[in-house]
């Protein structure tokens, strides 16, 4: 199994979710993160002290899928998340050795 981690722009969450559902994924986990990258941050001012906020709000989606669909999933996510503007984010794929569904104790691809 593969874990796909996608760091995307927050307002693209809905589209990425739809894309994954279309693929047949039945589960995913999401968290709010802050990203630093080429997309430069913005300046904020508080009572005259100006400073740069480099870390921008991003959404991280983690989805574990069977090996077979992993690359398809990556492509779909990329398509859904792309705006073409800097800061669109990254997708990382890594190997998962075991997955377990807590409720049923099912293991492996059945569990994802």
């Amino acid at each position: 199994m593969k874990k796909i981690e996608a760091i995307i722009k927050p307002f693209k969450l809905g589209e990425v979710r739809e894309a994954l559902l279309d693929l047949g994924a039945v589960g995913m986990t999401m968290s709010e993160v802050k990203g630093f990258g080429r997309q430069k941050g913005h300046t904020e001012i508080y009572r005259g002290s100006e400073y740069t906020v480099d870390f921008l709000p991003k959404m991280k989606i983690e989805v574990v899928v069977g090996d077979a669909v992993a690359s398809k999933a990556v492509d779909l996510i990329i398509k859904a998340a792309r705006t073409g503007k800097i800061g669109d984010g990254k997708v990382f794929v890594s190997h998962i050795e075991e997955a377990v569904r807590i409720r049923t104790d099912e293991r492996g691809e059945k569990a994802v």
């Binding site: 809905g14 913005h42 001012i45 906020v53």
Partner: protein, 491 residues
């Protein structure tokens, strides 16, 4: 001698402050011109009669003779308290109510709409706003220069408007209404309007809609004034047409002209902090006692009646809205309850000093139900994006209240209804009924028309000039960062 030197010194200082100072010096020079003549003798009986009059919230007959006491401190205490309460409605009340309803990236920009107007409207008011609204003029507006920098607005009561409190306090109380009215509109364009366009819009809107409407309804000689010689005497105790119809209808035009927020309605945009909105609603309820009961302009029985009608209407409307949700959706929501409160407060505003508490309750029930359907059905049916329901609540609630006032106005609550009615002859009835209903209808229709036309034209002009909406990128980033360079929450 010394006084002249003193004035000269002041002028010297002021001159060095640049061109603006010329205006100030002028105002300083003319201030206090309304000093009264020396009191002539009054008999003891006259003096007692004067005191009695004042304690009954009427200007003493003595004012043109030898007034020894001209302010009823109790009336004044209530009016000052009310002025503070009404300002509290805008900031923090409305700022919190609206601020909680938007997404977290737009909370500061939304609160800024209210808070900035506290400052902006005050300056317009001292320059020409008060003059246009309450100065002497024609039936549509007062002379814009009459009270420039508030000259002629001093300690002595203005007998036309409020006979037992300083004219200056009446002016302050009315200012607080001029502040909240445009702030109400901001619910319609929240989360997408450029701040600069907002400032320009309100500046023009107040000038051509609010100040004139206030003059027509409440100003001496205004077209709809029911006690000071209006041709179409319309009852509007604390601002049904002036405040809520005008702002609510303009709000509708705003959201039609500006268009929907990006993502609306496919992306849900739930309130980022309902707690803020509930606190805001609570403060609005409290502050509205100043708004409505303060509009009696004294601390007599009318204030009591307005307070009572306001309270029971609000309670009933809250129950109506939450009750409908309970029945139709299975659960009463906190935001629904709060929305009902505001709907009730809005609808009772024109009626507050004219109806009994029981009628207040009834108006509240109707308003809660009507606004519930406006917000849930009407908006969905027509598909406009009234971000925070300024039209559904203020436009419709205000219209409903203004019309019902014509039906339920009761001379037993407000004796002035009976007396004025006679002065106008049998065809004009201020004390409720079909005749008065027609007057109300005319005033409401006028307010709708003026608000729609003016708002549309102003917006189109500003759009051509500097553009109304922020860029897509800025809207996505949020208005707090893009318009004000700050984020509300940091760790």
């Amino acid at each position: 001698m010394w006084k002249n030197q003193n004035l000269a010194w002041r002028r010297r200082v002021l001159r060095s402050l640049g061109r603006a100072a010329v205006l100030f010096a002028f105002a300083l020079g003319v201030h206090g011109a309304e000093a009264a003549g020396a009191p002539r003798d009054a008999s003891l009986e006259e003096r007692v009669t004067d005191l009695e009059a004042l304690m009954n919230h009427t200007a003493p007959a003595a004012v043109h003779r030898a007034s020894r006491v001209s302010v009823n401190a109790g009336d004044h205490a209530w009016l000052l308290t009310s002025a503070a309460l009404v300002l509290m409605m805008t900031g923090p009340g409305l700022a919190l109510f609206y601020g909680g309803l938007v997404r977290s990236k737009n909370v500061l920009s939304t609160m800024m709409h209210s808070l900035f107007l506290m400052a902006l409207m005050s300056v317009l008011w001292i320059l020409y706003g008060y003059s246009v609204a309450f100065g002497e003029g024609n039936r549509f507006f007062g002379d814009p220069g009459q009270h420039f920098l508030l000259r002629g607005v001093g300690a002595a009561p203005n007998l036309d408007y409020a006979g037992t409190v300083p004219h200056q306090s009446f002016m302050l109380f009315q200012l607080m209404f001029a502040i909240i009215t445009p702030a109400l509109i901001s619910g319609a364009f929240a989360e997408r309007m450029k701040f600069s366009a907002m400032v320009l819009f309100i500046l023009l809107w107040a000038t051509v809609v609010y100040f004139p409407m206030a003059h027509m309804v409440w100003g001496k000689g205004g077209l709809f004034n029911w006690v000071l010689g209006g041709a179409i005497p319309a009852l509007d105790f604390a601002g049904g047409t002036v405040v809520h119809v005008s702002s609510g209808v303009s709000a509708l035009v705003c959201c039609l002209v500006l268009g929907k927020r990006l993502g609306h309605p496919s992306t849900p945009m739930p309130p980022h902090n309902v707690v803020y909105s509930l606190v805001g609603a609570g403060l609005l309820w409290i502050g509205w006692f100043g708004f409505n009961a303060g509009s009696a302009l004294n601390a007599g029985a009318l204030a009591s009646a307005a307070f009572a009608a306001t309270h029971f209407a609000t309670a009933a409307a809250a129950l109506a809205w939450a009750g409908l949700e309970w029945i139709l959706k299975g659960k009463p929501s906190a935001l629904g309850l709060a929305s009902g409160m505001v709907a009730g407060l809005v609808a009772i505003t024109p009626a507050a000093g004219f109806v009994t508490p029981a009628v207040g309750l009834l108006i509240g029930l109707l308003a809660g139900a009507a606004c519930y359907f406006a917000v849930t059905k009407l908006k969905a049916a027509f598909g406009y994006d009234d971000s925070l329901d300024a039209f559904g609540v203020h436009g419709l609630g205000g219209t409903l209240g203004a019309l019902l006032t014509g039906i339920f106005a009761d001379p037993e609550v407000n004796p002035a209804l009976a007396s004025t009615w006679k002065a106008h002859g049998a065809t004009v009835s201020l004390a409720g009924g079909f005749g008065q209903f027609l007057h109300q209808l005319k005033a409401v229709a006028f307010a709708w028309a003026l608000a729609m036309a003016a708002t549309y034209l102003i917006l189109k002009a500003i759009d051509a000039l500097i553009g109304l909406r922020v860029s897509e990128e800025d809207e996505t980033l949020g208005l707090d960062l893009s318009q004000h360079g700050e984020g509300a929450y940091n760790t």
